[in-house]
């Protein structure tokens, strides 16, 4: 085994509760196919026990937190995937219309950048993890993915601010609808 069992044991119910709460907070639903949903929750529980954090059941984690951070559920790719396809990569989180109309949920392409996938298996690249976090972030946003620079959104009802491609479906703080969000731009004066 490449991983030692983590001491923390979690129940399936705890994993489910956490996912339900997070779905409610961000305006999503959990996969309506109960059997499939349970298989995903079991995968999350297994990963939490293996690695100490619930990394995506449909991606291979390294066990190195810094390398796996973007795939810890809810992963960095959930929101853009739900926006584009109606559900996330593993199918745990589903957009409201897809859940309510029971639209088909099919496999979607991997959005995780190939450099991150490569870093997770190529040994020479693992040394990247020793670099300071800020350095990694700066390279990813400004140089490797100029198109993926995130926008800043502001909830006009409560003042919550987030960086995302699109505003959330509901404000996680005050529950205001998406329409209450405005795009923010920052201007440095002087």
């Amino acid at each position: 085994m490449r991983f030692g069992r983590h001491w923390r044991l979690v129940t399936l119910e705890q994993v489910r509760q956490r996912a339900e709460n997070d779905a409610r907070t961000h305006g999503y639903y959990l996969n309506p196919d109960e059997e499939f949903l349970i298989s995903l929750l079991e995968g999350l529980r297994e990963n939490e026990e293996r690695y100490g954090y619930p990394s995506c059941p449909c991606r291979r984690a390294t066990g190195v937190f810094e390398l796996d951070r973007d795939i810890i559920c809810p992963c960095d790719y959930r929101d853009p995937d739900c926006e584009e396809y109606g559900y996330c990569y593993c199918g745990l989180y589903v957009r409201k219309d897809v859940a309510e109309k029971r639209l088909p949920i099919k496999p979607i392409p991997e959005r995780r950048p190939s450099e991150k996938l490569a870093r997770a298996y190529s040994k020479e690249d693992v040394t990247v993890s020793e670099k300071p976090v800020e350095e990694i972030k700066t390279t990813l946003v400004s140089e490797e993915h100029p198109a993926e620079v995130l926008k800043m959104w502001y909830c006009r009802q409560c003042g919550y601010v987030c960086f995302r491609e699109e505003p959330p479906y509901v404000c996680p703080i005050c529950k205001a609808k998406r329409e209450m969000f405005s795009r923010l731009t920052v201007k440095i004066i002087g």
Partner: protein
């Protein structure tokens, strides 16, 4: 590397599946192959060592695939990424019953 061999009546093609033991889509793929009695081999890449995983990734990339699971390799030539039932049916010559 732990290669799991699954017997089946349908052994027309050589079928190798790279999967994750925790993944819902991989589980569906395994079930599909078993339900259709397809003889196949599978490897759960999350249970492999880093060296074995690196070897598997190189294999997938050399075949022109993307690092994503499930990845199905039929007859050592055709690679299918994801649980795309129609494509898998076609590659394995399984009718829509």
């Amino acid at each position: 590397m732990n290669v799991v061999k699954v017997d089946g009546k349908n052994s027309k093609h050589r079928v190798l599946l790279y999967a994750l033991s925790t993944c819902g889509w991989c589980r569906k793929t395994k079930k599909f192959l078993t339900d259709n009695s397809v003889a196949h081999e599978y490897i759960d890449v999350d249970l492999c060592t880093d060296e074995e995983y690196e070897q598997i990734c190189r294999d997938i990339l050399e075949r022109g695939g993307r690092i994503a699971f499930p990845t199905l390799i039929v007859d050592d030539s055709r690679l299918i990424t994801g649980f795309n039932v129609d494509e898998i049916r076609e590659a394995l010559e399984i009718g829509n019953t």
